[in-house]
Symmetry: C6
Subunit: 246 residues, 6 copies
């Protein structure tokens, strides 16, 4: 049985995604600093509501609500109104970013989910149910992963996030940080654990710095893997398909 496709509504992207994100999947958005990750996934939610009737939950592990709203205000999205209309919800999980338990780290059995991740997943599920959301965003997942000092546990943490979100049953987008840059960068292990991966970078191409987006991976999808330029405008992220990065 083929999946429905969840459209992002981001100009130029759904075409690169072969129509949209397969329903119920977890997509990883990995990008460098200032590449627009938060704008991108916020737009995914707002478009969901305004264009496709999909309610959405924004889970923030970076900023509290007032700062977030302030940042998104430039794009003309009236998030507080959508919130009142119970079409949009904000989960402030930013305190998690400070949580470190050096003791627990060595003893946590990842096979059964991590305590703080369990709580978070439950909180998310609860918000999703409350407004019958169809989309959820977690921005960023970095602190959930970097509680652990070693690769084995980080890998497990990412798997648990993807698993936990998949169990909620709706379409998810999570963001993470790029560690190295350029065309021949190191591949980060999260890229193998999500169902889809979109990469945002600011590349130096000859004399110009270009914002570049690439759909690297998407299950069930015939993707267009070309790197394309995008801009961050007053409407959010816009990708121009006819243009090349070069």
């Amino acid at each position: 049985m083929k999946s429905s496709r969840i459209k992002t509504g981001i100009l130029g992207l759904d075409k690169m995604l072969g129509g949209g994100i397969p329903e119920g999947r977890v997509v990883l958005l990995v990008g460098g600093p200032g590449t627009g990750k938060t704008i991108f996934c916020s737009q995914f939610l707002v478009n969901g509501i305004e264009m496709y009737g999909d309610n959405g939950v924004f889970v923030s592990l970076d900023e509290g609500k007032s700062h977030y709203l302030r940042e998104m205000s430039v794009f003309g999205w009236d998030l507080e109104k959508l919130e009142q209309e119970k079409k949009w919800a904000f989960v402030n999980a930013s305190p998690i970013k400070y949580a470190i338990s050096p003791d627990e780290v060595s003893n946590i059995s990842i096979g059964s989910k991590d305590f703080s991740l369990s709580n978070l997943i439950n909180k998310i599920k609860s918000s999703v149910d409350k407004i019958k959301a169809n989309r959820v965003v977690v921005d960023p997942i970095t602190s959930l992963v970097f509680q652990y000092p070693d690769v084995i546990n980080r890998r497990a943490a990412i798997l648990n996030i993807v698993e936990g979100l998949t169990e909620i049953g709706i379409t998810s987008m999570v963001t993470t940080e790029l560690k190295t840059s350029g065309f021949e960068r190191n591949i980060q292990l999260e890229e193998y654990l999500a169902h889809g991966v979109i990469v945002l970078q600011t590349l130096q191409v000859g004399k110009t710095s270009i914002r570049a987006i690439q759909v690297e991976k998407m299950r069930e999808t015939s993707i267009d893997p070309q790197i394309r330029p995008y801009r961050i405008t007053e409407k959010g992220i816009e990708i121009y398909q006819k243009e090349s990065v070069f």
Copy 2:
């Protein structure tokens, strides 16, 4: 005594493989994210059934069956029907991907096989016998290997996987993740431990992102080591021999 060759049936590949994979061997498919590893090895099994009368077992360490079937549905392979016809079987080993035993890790004697790998091999053997399969796929082997924090034990884990599969006596394809990319990437130790290695990458060649495949190694075979472009179409992976990547 020369081996029979097991044909992949993937357009363009058998020629690069000097006819096909030598029977009973273990081939490693190493590729970056989104390069089509799961599609590739699934196609290997489906073609085995439909073109060559070889039954096959798909062992998944990444996804459960429903997600897997959903992903493969785009290619028009009726896997559930093949399953009923006892020509195809699915072994769901995805729970293994969560198994971490920090205690056991330091004490496991690899000379005698690892407990969870033993179980897995037995499970695979059982499935193979049940449908008299001639081909088996394990996708991916990463979690079986990354239970171990050190190179010595990872090396042993890979050897045990190759050994365990070889003992079953049929032709195997296993997948793994590429860590670095480009033309002068680091060589991963798995590449020395499998009998054959096929590499899938998305390379940036000038202005274009190209999907590129290379047969790096195959025992008993006069391979064509040239990097060639491939596409993922509605029929699966297709390699165009007359084309160059450049």
Copy 3:
């Protein structure tokens, strides 16, 4: 509610910043040795006073006051007079740079702020209140972060600095050191934790060494991400928009 913008007054920069720094945010200035980080953030404060009526506090973790004043004297800023006029204040936190407690390091719970950072934040807050400052600079944050030997704790230290400064409620600029150089350098974790990032480098472009500045990230802002040349003159930092680095 959209933010006010705090103008830097640095020739060419406010345009790259879409008007200025969003009020109350923490901007990271990351640069190589000799790129003018101290001059840059000092100019940010002096311009604040002289051009925009914003009082400012300079927190030094590198040098004592007399050395600092000596260095800034070439630019014609009469900092001692501004100090008397209670428009500018200097917090000498340079002793912190020597503080190492190997014992404490492993036991510090970062969830509740670090002892020495708490003190520093209080000291800063006190200075800010005393002259009703609107801008604060911390130059550099390196020693606050490098007390910790591991990434998990360093990450937390940076988060705490950003958090602590944000709570004070005014606009902050903090400086840090670049570890690798060139167009495809490694991205440092601080760049993901600040609200904005400006990068200063001396790049080798063909035959010439060029001082280059790039606004890499700024929340709530449509930035111009192009790398531009700048000079350090007798007036301080000057960026020439019409020029290219190439």
Copy 4:
């Protein structure tokens, strides 16, 4: 007293070797996956028998005998007949590749040879004596070296292998894995410990993948250090001197 030279008989190689390998020396063949290391050293033995009257022993640490014979069958060498004629012998040391003793590792005194290496050397010596071999191959030495987690012990392991083989008194060729690739790869410590080193790589030169061989080092020999192309044909390895890799 000048050494006799042991000819490899591999087309094009003996010329690069200044006539052949100095008698009694240990040559390291280091190569990437699929570059033909096993074929190369097998050919060295077969040519020894068929062209120069030198009997030879093949010590396998990778594969058992039936798999090995299957692989070599494509080249038309009747190894089983040579074995009956007591001109060729196969030592199956592949079980060693699984041997890991974490306890022993930290206590082994390398000054007196390693227990499993001692046994192996004795076994080899015994085989050599039995057929009065003049050449021996060990393919690959990797597992003998990688039992040890640290550089100091690995270095000692390699020294002991070279020493042990030298004591047997005949000419040896051992194979090992290349870790990094390209023209400016890292130099592996084994390359300093063998008497001679031949490197096999598949290099990307412009648009083509080329199999390239280079004689990097050979005691007592005026070598030709140029990188030359080679092919793996039905006769084995062939090097074309008049051709360039470029």
Copy 5:
């Protein structure tokens, strides 16, 4: 209050330094092997005496006096005469380079200066006072720093050296080793801790090896950051401003 400038007298350099080194500062001279670090800083002292009436102390952590004098003799500087005239002094701190106390290393509290560094600073101060020196050189500081196995303590060691020399109150030049080379080398932490940094490298530019000098950083100074060629002649280091490295 603006600083006096201490002229190096090295042909071409004072211009790159905006007139000279600001009085009382610590300048780091970082260079590759054979780039002339010892010659450079010795010339700084000799010129100080002969051209500017500044007495100077040479602190050697590398060589004893007779070897040092032998090396400097080619440049025609009569150091022994200057020593008798109490214008120049030599402090032999070379025994320090052997001092390792593994026990002490982990317990040393860097906040209060290191025992051997304290002694050294006192010894230097005493020499400076004795001849009323205005300049001091420490060549090299590497062993003072590399007693410590970790970055935190090395950083502190360098800070203490800079602090200790600054307290003496005169202008200092210290030398250190370059770890990586080329235009996009890694930045070493010492470069952020000194008041000024001059880099000496032998760069490969096309077909030629060029000795290249760059003033990377200098507090209170409008530096010329261009890389320029220099030569080591019978007069010492000479920089040719009109020439380019390229």
Copy 6:
């Protein structure tokens, strides 16, 4: 007092060395595998005897005497005759290369020389006295250094070797291994600890592999730092000054 210069007699090299090696100094010869390090330093000794009346001692930490003599025989040097004439001596220190004392390593106080190094220095001194040698070679020093697992102790080991040889009072040449290759390789710490450094590499320049030599450093000497091509002929190493590597 200026040093005498010890001529190497190697065609083309003494000119690059500004006449020769300053008497009593320790020169490090660092080179890749197969670059001719042993030939080079052997030639240094033989030329010393035959051209300049300097007797010499060859200290081997790699090979025993018979293997060494066999290797050098191609160059027409009658070393056994020179040995009988008490002009040349061979110290077989090759057993040292196997010596590992894991226990001792952590406890050795490098301030007072290492036990095995003391013995070796004494042995060398004794040989030097016996034939009144003026030159000594230690080939290679790697095992003396790599007994130690950490940088601090390795650094000390190298210092002790240089110190120990300097105390003997004659001119020394020691060899070591290059770890990375190419024009922008990492600088190895030994290069800063010897009095002079000569680098031997096989560089890939366009389509050709070229043997290249560079005098990187030499105390008291105006060196020619250009990279020049050399050949290994039947007479030993020959450098062609008029030729360029490019």
